[in-house]
């Protein structure tokens, strides 16, 4: 019975810490390189579409 309680408590402590670590990672600012990359991919695509039409 009490061992059951301990186990539950253990699981809680682990999950709380896990979520805290993950939350810290989520709150990190996304570096501009990724936003730049997405913009670049978009531009490349629309440029190649235009190029394709011109041919």
């Amino acid at each position: 019975m009490s061992q059951n309680n301990d186990k539950t408590r253990q699981g809680q402590v682990i999950d709380e810490n896990l979520k805290r670590v993950y939350q810290d990672m989520l709150e990190e600012k996304v570096p501009d390189r990724f936003l730049d990359l997405l913009t670049q991919l978009k531009e490349q695509e629309s440029a190649s579409k235009k190029g394709g039409n011109a041919k």
Binding site: S2, Q3, N5, D6, R9, Q10, G11, Q12, V13, I14, D15, E16, N17, L18, K19, R20, V21, Y22, M25, L26, E27, E28, V30, P31, R33, F34, L35, L37, L38, L41, K42
Partner: protein
């Protein structure tokens, strides 16, 4: 033509980076992996089924990138050895919170599959079914990986039954009285 699903990708960047970091435990490597995954996702968007979970799809691309890199590089190339040598001597603090650095060290000692399962299910909030789908394994496999990961963490953190008892007054009371602590923290 309206509503390119790729416009949604940007919303998932923080989660994608967190997942990458938890797999690689190396910031530079994680960001390179995110970059590769973004390019793949962008060019293979026709493989994404509209209406399904975009984050799950992106995570799947990222983990495939990670495991294929790992296969190419040979197993266990990441710098966990440095982490391995540090010992986990600290007991849980008496407010019930573990030392965060110790938790991270313990977390890094899990194998890739356990760490992944724990992040997907325990932290990101995916269901066992979704996680199983993303990892290409049975639901039971994900369940046993998360269970073993939790058990291993408890062991590494010295969270055995005796120490659990002394962790918080609330927890001790709960065991004594059979009630759950009203609130923790």
């Amino acid at each position: 033509m309206s509503g390119d699903p790729r416009d949604e990708i940007v919303q998932h960047l923080p989660a994608l980076r967190a997942f990458a970091l938890s797999l690689t435990r190396n910031g530079a490597l994680a960001d390179d992996m995110v970059q590769d995954s973004l390019v793949k996702a962008w060019t293979k968007i026709d493989q994404f089924e509209p209406g399904t979970n975009m984050r799950a799809w992106l995570f799947t691309i990222l983990r495939n990138t990670y495991y294929s890199n790992r296969r190419k590089a040979g197993r266990e190339v990441a710098d966990i050895d440095g982490v391995h040598t540090e010992s986990l001597s600290e007991k849980p603090a008496h407010d019930g919170r573990l030392q965060m650095s110790d938790f991270k060290i313990a977390f890094a000692k899990l194998n890739d599959e356990q760490r992944e399962a724990l992040i997907l299910v325990g932290a990101s909030g995916f269901s066992y079914e979704e996680a199983a789908d993303m990892c290409g394994v049975a639901v039971g496999t994900i369940k046993s990986r998360t269970n073993r990961a939790r058990a291993r963490l408890a062991e590494l953190m010295h969270l055995n039954a005796d120490e659990a008892l002394e962790m918080t007054d609330g927890a001790t009371m709960a065991v004594v009285t059979g009630n759950r602590p009203a609130s923790v923290g």
